[in-house]
Amino acid sequence: MSGLDQIFVWIGHRAAGWFPASVQPLVSAVLAIAGVMAVFGTCFALTTLAERKVLGRMQNRFGPNRVGPYGLLQPLADAVKMLTKEDIVPFSADKTLHFLAPLVLTVPVWLAFAVLPFGRNMSAINLDAGILFFFAVGSASELAVFMAGWSSQNKYSLVGAMRAIAQMISYEVPLVLSVVPVLMLAGSLELNDIVAAQGTYTFGGLARWNVFTPWGLAGLILFLIAATAESNRSPFDLPEGESEIIAGFLTEYSGFKYALFFLGEYLGLFAVTGLAVTLFLGGWHAPFQWLEWVPSWFWFAAKFGALIFLFIWVRATLPRLRLDQLLNFSWRFLVPLSLINLLVAAAWYWTGAWKFPVVAPIRWLLCAALIALPYHWLGRALRGAMPPPRKYIYAE
């Protein structure tokens, strides 16, 4: 347990030590909350900048580089802009709901961070039903989106809110279902146990993360697709489809409420990414045995950054789905696949007992085939009858 690895825990204990014993649990809780909010607040600021710079670089142009060196003060400039902009509330809007919506969206999302293990014994609370808490808190965002869409009394925001609710409900099912195999094989709902289950190292010193198992890889892909939909990001950003319904349920928001919505959306993205890292990418474990000396929270941050880059990369590339395709994609593709993933996890568990010589690759391929074939068939079924590839005749 190197000093650097436990440095934050050590600081927490020292700071709590200055207070009388009776109020110490309260102080350590407040410290944990302050730590999480500070880290993920700045992470939000940096991600807005990183998103614009990476998007820029993928489009052959610089991102923001005028405010501060390499544009590092751009988030500060955005914050000041958002604070100073006039907060317009439409005349016929439902004032109380219009004001409450961003709060109802942002507050529950902060709660979701209480459960994530950021490093070796660095998670705010060790809840016995950790994942259930995470999804319970995450489901309040639909209500907030509805409040925003309805209270703006604007046709575009109403259409946007309807789309957002349909999308969130239909993508919460695959999100939760793709997590179930991890719970089954880890045997517990507590996130620290799940991370511990991925702690051991195989022959080559490679960590035994869930993502290296067939059901883990499929689960991660399903989880990430459902996560992009839950946090309204690119291929699924229908609720605020700029080119169709202007800004969906955000149309009538301006000033700091608009910024609050973005804070809520990005925090939702961070929470879901944190969960993906914990469940499938071995939380704060090092990828190789000989890298164990690196502090554990660094590994969590590295994997976290990689997934955020993946989300930005997807946003730069893909056009948007239509509403009916979006719902078909979830109900006729993701949900069946995540159910089949349960079977694959079960098959993986039962074939664990086989002992003949070259068991690992055969077992891996068998389970991989179990998921790949339905993937292909469902994909074909989703696309409907394969239209003959277009042939273009050339007239002289």
Binding site: D128, L132, A136, S139, E142, L189
Partner: protein, 172 residues
């Protein structure tokens, strides 16, 4: 001391939400106050250290049932503010004795029931694993029947909700 304040707060939130859900005129506000009441209930469960029930309540009621209520309010055109509809009927005083009577027999039956006599059972910390095992072993039959019931209800809803395919009138 801290617990009492927290409990009173949650109870007040729940009661306020429930009363507001009844009294407000704008139906959408009522639906949202109902969601507030559900959240208050979840808070009370958590205070009783029943984590699983608390989170399940939060997930199911606030996450799904509140949205269901809001949708029904929205789609059945109830969301209009009925101008001038008095929130309470004119002959409300007739209802008071009936209410008091119902309250009296409720209280009598609670006091008379034997369950109050038993010692309050030690707050057994029921971890999720134990709940899971109980569900799968002892209560597997009720679980399956509820599952079937829900599937039947789902199919019924879909059949009712299925719009008759509108004949799209050929234009020009």
């Amino acid at each position: 001391m801290l617990n009492e304040i927290a409990f009173l707060l949650c109870a007040a939130l729940t009661l306020a939400g429930a009363v507001a859900a009844m009294m407000l005129r704008n139906l959408v506000h009522c639906a949202l106050c109902a969601a507030g009441a559900f959240a208050g209930l979840a808070a009370i469960y958590l205070q009783l250290d029943a984590e699983f029930v608390g989170f399940a309540q939060l997930l199911i009621y606030v996450g799904a049932i509140a949205i269901l209520i809001v949708f029904t309010v929205l789609l059945t055109r109830g969301a209009e503010i009925q101008p001038g509809a008095a929130s309470s009927a004119s002959s409300w005083w007739k209802g008071v004795p009936v209410g008091a009577l119902v309250l009296a027999c409720l209280i009598w039956s609670i006091m008379a029931s034997p369950s109050l006599v038993r010692l309050p059972s030690p707050n057994v910390h029921a971890p999720v694993k134990q709940i899971g095992e109980q569900l799968m072993n002892q209560f597997v039959m009720p679980l399956e029947t509820i599952g079937l019931l829900l599937t039947a209800a789902l199919l019924g809803a879909v059949v009712i909700g299925l719009r008759e395919p509108r004949t799209s009138e050929p234009n020009s």
